[in-house]
């Protein structure tokens, strides 16, 4: 078992609110773990803890065997991240933005390679040389996907990544995730999209009020069953 992402009794307290209640989770290479939950359930908190953006109150998060809190910069070599709303440098072009983030990740790509990643992510080729300031949310999201893919990370953290994408682009993104998974990338995706979770997920977790209340294998599970289970948990 090659566990690349792990949470051990991970807990986060914000002043008067316990945002995450002792999360235990292991995700293997090539696995896609979809985390469902309402707004404020603790999905983004979990991702932020894996990213090292916030420090846990107790417990620990691990990426590729390294504890995140004590290796904040180093663990970033192994992970890529796509936020719900990808924000880029508005004065730079799509190509320049991708070049910047790839360079920082340690990859030096030729312009043709950068273009390949952008087009693969669904960005029209003619938009790549334009300033990002004029991009729609969906176009920025595609650049964000290209940035994540070009990093060739072991772990992909996604926070509502298809937000702003049209159905066709969302579908293409799902196919891309499956390809990455086949290549051995572990994917952790926080989402509200039950049907996409079922379509791409290896396992689906349901989170409620900072607690992982259920984890189900996606295989053999109907979307309607998943929806029913999810709603049951939400109405407890």
């Amino acid at each position: 078992m090659n566990i690349v992402l792990e949470a051990r009794e991970l807990r986060k307290q914000y002043q008067d609110k316990l945002a995450l209640k002792g999360l235990n989770l292991q995700i293997q290479a090539g696995e896609i773990f979809c985390l469902l939950g309402q707004n404020g359930a603790g999905k983004s908190t979990t991702i932020n803890l894996f990213l090292g953006f916030i420090t846990p109150t107790s417990g620990a998060a691990y990426i590729n065997g390294l504890e995140v809190a004590s290796n904040v910069t180093r663990v970033k070599e192994y992970l890529a991240y796509i936020p719900e709303n990808v924000m880029l440098y508005p004065n730079l072009t799509g190509l320049e933005n991708l070049s910047l983030f790839s360079s920082l990740a340690g990859f030096k790509y030729a312009e043709e390679e950068l273009m390949h990643y952008l087009v693969q992510a669904g960005l029209p080729a003619e938009a790549a040389g334009r300033r990002v300031g004029g991009y729609s949310k969906g176009m920025r999201q595609k650049v964000g996907i290209a940035i994540a893919v070009a990093k060739h990370a072991k772990v992909l953290l996604l926070d509502e990544p298809t937000s702003g994408l049209d159905p066709k682009a969302s579908n293409e993104f799902s196919e891309l995730l499956l390809k990455l998974s086949d290549a051995g990338t572990a994917i952790f995706m926080a989402t509200h999209d039950i049907f996409r979770s079922k379509a791409v997920g290896t396992r689906v977790g349901i989170m409620r009020e900072g607690e992982l209340v259920d984890v189900l294998p996606a295989a053999g599970l109907e979307a309607s069953e998943l929806e029913k289970l999810y709603l049951n948990h939400m109405h407890v």
Binding site: K76, Y81, Y89, P90, N91, L100, F101, L104, G144, L157
Partner: protein, 460 residues
């Protein structure tokens, strides 16, 4: 190092694409170029005026020769003939004019009493003095901080506000590297401009290259670094861009206007200086009173000071130039203590300013640059002392003609002493100012680093 280079490169791309920053930088550069033009032009004008004074003196000599075709009485010449004490600008004065616009750079002198002539200057336009000098020092000390504020007020906050920080921090880099790269890029940009303008000003002003080149660069670099440190300190508070901009402008206002104004008031109260006007009035009263005093009494006082002329001929009749110049000089002697306390008061005031300028970096830096260019108050006081010595030498030149009653021939004009003075840099002020500046830079950067370390950077 590689990542720092990458971030700096993209900072450059961002800067290049930002019209607002380009305009701000271009304005600062233009202000610097105008400052160089203003300073060098103004000092060149002073040089031309000083050169014209030599011509005026020679013309005056020719007029005297025409007025007195034969032998002349030295008393007449002492009264009608004038010469000048001149304060030549140092070759660096164009870069930092200091008080050269405020204080006279030449004095018209005759053999009459000195004190009234020391403070008898040309009229100047008070509005021009009020607006001050727009020289390179002004641009570097007062305007470059605004450029630095404009470039740095949002170095960290903009990443949060435009939402790029999460994606940036998901790369294997820390916030320190991000802020560091932004600061390094801006420091390279601003120091590049400041040093380019300095080199251009030195070349344009044809400065004599000496140790001051290094010192000037040192002051300019430290001054800019101080303001970068302030910007870093405010950025470390992790507030929004509006808060940062207002805070930084507040600090600029405090250090460049409020504290200097308060220092001015404090120094005036703490170190009062007798008015030059009071000195002049008292001296005039003594001189004018000389007309009514018995000649013997006046001459006795004078001979007590200059016994070498005691055995000269008796003064006869109603008027004698010897007697006239004696009571003129006694007027100076009568206010010597007042003149000394005025001079000492000004020096003491300068000392007080030098000890308090640690409260305001701009005041300190301006003082250092003026001291470097020989255009500060002590340099002017040195000029006044030099002018006094020159007046003494004029008296020593004319007294033998007056008291031995030797006719003054045309050939004697050539023997009349001429004056020349150039303010020299005050290295004590320069080095102590540099040390204070260095401490200020270290303090502000240490505080900023500590604050940056204490307050963990959050992505929102």
């Amino acid at each position: 190092m590689n990542k720092l280079r990458i971030l700096i490169k993209f900072e450059w791309l961002n800067f290049r694409a930002d019209k607002g920053l380009l305009i701000l930088t271009a304005l600062a550069l233009l202000a610097g170029l105008y400052g160089i033009y203003y300073g060098t032009t103004e000092i060149e004008r002073q040089r031309e005026n000083i050169a014209a004074l030599e011509v005026l003196t020679e013309q005056n000599v020719e007029e005297m020769k025409m007025k007195y075709p034969g032998d002349a009485d030295a008393g007449d010449l002492g009264y009608y003939h004038s010469t000048f004490a001149v304060n030549h600008p140092d070759s660096w004065a164009g870069l930092s004019m200091g008080q050269r616009d405020l204080n006279p750079y030449y004095l018209k002198l005759r053999l009459l009493n000195l004190q009234s002539q020391l403070y008898d200057t040309e009229n100047i336009n008070p509005l021009k003095v009020l607006s001050g000098n727009f020289d390179l020092a002004f641009v570097l000390v007062y305007l470059f901080p605004l450029l630095i504020i404009g470039l740095c007020f949002n170095i960290l906050s903009v990443e949060k506000e435009q939402g790029t920080l999460p994606l940036l921090l998901s790369q294997p880099i820390g916030p320190a590297l991000i802020v560091g790269a932004k600061l390094v890029f801006r420091i390279i940009l601003v120091l590049g401009m400041a040093l380019f303008l300095s080199v251009l000003a030195m070349w344009w002003g044809r400065v004599v290259p000496d140790v001051r080149v290094v010192l000037w660069f040192g002051v300019v670099v430290l001054n800019c670094l101080f303001w970068f440190g302030v910007a870093f300190l405010v950025a470390a508070l992790q507030k929004n861009s509006a808060f940062n901009a207002v805070t930084l402008l507040g600090v600029w206002l405090l250090l460049t206007i409020v504290i200097p104004a308060l220092l001015n008031v404090y120094v005036s109260v703490k170190q009062p200086v007798p008015q030059a006007l009071a000195l002049t009035i008292q001296q005039r009263e003594v001189v004018h009173g000389g007309w009514d005093k018995p000649k013997g009494e006046t001459m006795e006082k004078f001979f007590a000071l200059y016994p070498q002329w005691r055995d000269t001929a008796e003064i006869e009749g109603g008027f004698a130039w010897r007697w006239y110049y004696a009571f003129q000089h006694l007027g100076d002697v009568a206010v010597a203590d007042l003149a000394k306390s005025y001079e000492e008061g000004l020096y003491a005031r300068q000392q007080l300013v030098n000890s308090l300028n640690v409260l305001s970096v701009p005041v300190n830096v301006q003082g250092v640059l003026n001291a470097m260019a020989g255009s500060d108050l002590p340099a002017h006081l040195d000029f006044l002392k030099s002018a006094s010595r020159y007046h003494d030498s004029l008296r020593e030149f004319y007294y033998p003609f007056l008291y031995r009653q030797v006719p003054f021939t045309h050939a004697d004009y050539a023997g009349e002493p001429r004056h020349s003075f150039t303010g020299s840099p005050d290295f004590t002020t320069i080095y102590s100012g540099l040390a204070k500046l260095l401490v200020s830079v270290l303090l502000v950067f240490t505080a900023a680093l500590l604050l940056f370390k204490i307050r963990t950077v959050t992505v929102k």
